[in-house]
Subunit: 340 residues, 2 copies
């Protein structure tokens, strides 16, 4: 990926292909997940399927439910059961997106107007609650207390991470440790839970279950680190995608934490003005990117992502070899080296 | 209670005593619930126990968990098990309060500054999510899929009711049927679920379980109808409590639905200006109360509450007689005739 103006770190040979290959391997399951999502976001209260449909349709690649499906199949499970649980995972993710956008006051999500921008904050809060409740109804229908335990805990941890992120916002003294705690809670926990649920469905032994969870957690860490770099990426900007959201919101992501730590007093004043006081002017985002590059903060953040990515891949070692494990390994590289 | 200026409908002999008596009958259980609430709203992320503690402390009489406890005991259950589930019920209720206040942009809750007013909307959304997740963790620890089914369904229904209420806000053409659908979902569903959970824990036969659920649902209907009257109550105002919140937010509660239906064109213009356009001036609230009284809308809403209250009492008929059933019957009168 390109981390900053004309500074390529590594270009994957077939960008996107590893994820597409993984998706193809669980295509039938994923079709079932999508059917379940459409059925279960329905409600006689029309605004609910309207709003839920809006955010679900804008919904990216369904990475988390794909992980649930792929892990279950890799572990040899053959029933249609994982689809309902994968839909539950996606509902929890969607609920957190809706509430995040309200909290962040975002007007864009994946390049489209966010649901709160189109429908207002109030329905976004309430439909998030609805999807969260639906997720638990899907789990109850499945009937595994293990799965309910994993996903209720992940849900609590996600909200803890979001609150911690909120408390750290606009605080340039945020440490790398706090940043890592935030992303472990707000992002990695659901990746880990999605993978562990796949293993639980397949009824594997504890070592494999643990391997699946670790794979998901580490992949989630890598995924979020890259996301945070992409928010400052010149290539993103070139592709017409919005950059600088985190900067405008005063979010302390790792690139800024690193650049602040390495900056001189003048640079720290800049970060305090823009991130703490949110006093931002024309050219500030460009200057921020220049500072991040001066200190190698974007490249180093990608290095951390690669580190977590290698841990994710190592975790899969004890899992059954085959095309699914191969694709899960390659998806790590895809997530780390993606440029969107 | 007094429904409007100097117009007493009925004054209970010992206001509050039936609820106090019910609470006294489950005092030990309720102490355990309160301990569980304090323990389980804790988090290393300090803002969470701060905010959760604020709203839980301002938390009224814990009517819903008291119902869970009282029904379980009435049905002869003796273990400490209901306390954890009653705490889960209270967490769900608290989460919905937090999200409601964000949605309503309320600055007061039970006469105190609301959590969103003190801590901001963002943490209120996220801590609501946290408490909701914690509720499910408590249920998972208990281990009953029946309970998980009841409370996940109630949670979905509550959010449906809230969205329906939002869609009906500021719409003077809202029908009584829509209003009843809203309060059945947003309020009665959790009362019904709280009572049914008590019966499930006691492992009673389906007829008693159904009786408990019906009791809760009908009591919830009565409770909300009275709440909606109290928002226009002169006695509330005399006690120094805020009135007119629903009016200011343009909420279509039954008193307004009835008065609008019975009003002449001039009165309907008044309601359209104040409730639809939210163009409100000095003296409008007083005029609204005068119109509600002119059409007997407050007294008639209390009559509906009494009707549901009688249904609640009738539902308890097949349940084991004794001091708990007696107190549950009397609590219905207390809820209907309360003036706060």
């Amino acid at each position: 990926m390109t981390v900053a103006a004309g500074k390529p770190v590594e270009t994957p040979k077939e960008a996107g292909s590893a994820l597409d290959r993984l998706i193809a391997l669980v295509a039938d399951d994923l079709a079932a997940v999508n059917r379940t999502i459409v059925q279960r976001m329905d409600s006689p209260v029309e605004l609910i399927p309207q709003l839920a449909g809006y955010i679900v349709a804008s919904g990216g690649k369904r990475l988390r439910p794909v992980l649930t499906l792929a892990i279950a199949r890799m572990c040899g499970h053959e029933s249609p059961r994982p689809a309902g649980l994968a839909a539950a995972v996606e509902f929890i993710h969607t609920a957190t997106l809706l509430h995040d956008d309200v909290v962040d006051e975002s007007d864009l999500r994946r390049g489209q107007a966010s649901a709160n921008e189109v429908f207002g904050n109030k329905p976004s809060v309430l439909v998030g609650d609805f999807l969260f409740a639906r997720a638990f109804q899907l789990m109850v229908e499945d009937g595994s207390l293990d799965v309910l335990r994993i996903l209720s805990e992940a849900s609590a941890v996600i909200s803890e991470g979001e609150v911690l992120q909120l408390a750290a916002a606009n605080d340039t003294t945020t440490t790398e440790a706090t940043y890592l705690a935030v992303i472990e809670s707000k992002t990695a926990a659901l990746f880990g839970a999605a993978c562990e649920v796949g293993a639980v469905v397949a009824d594997v032994d504890p070592a494999i279950r643990n391997a699946a969870r670790t794979y998901g957690m580490k992949l989630g860490m890598a995924f979020q680190l890259v996301d945070d770099v992409l928010d400052y990426s010149a290539l993103q900007a070139k592709l017409g995608k919005a950059i600088g959201d985190d900067f405008r919101e005063g979010k302390l992501t790792l690139p800024v934490v690193l650049a602040f730590a390495r900056g001189d007093e003048e640079e720290r004043s800049f970060w305090r003005r823009t991130i703490e006081d949110l006093d931002q002017r024309d050219g500030d985002l460009e200057h921020a990117i220049a500072l991040l590059n001066r200190h190698g903060a974007l490249a180093e953040t990608i290095e951390r992502a690669r580190f977590y990515g290698r841990q994710a891949q190592a975790a899969l070692e004890p899992c059954p070899a085959g095309p699914l494990r191969r694709a899960l390994l390659d998806v790590v590289d895809f997530c780390v080296e993606r440029d969107y």
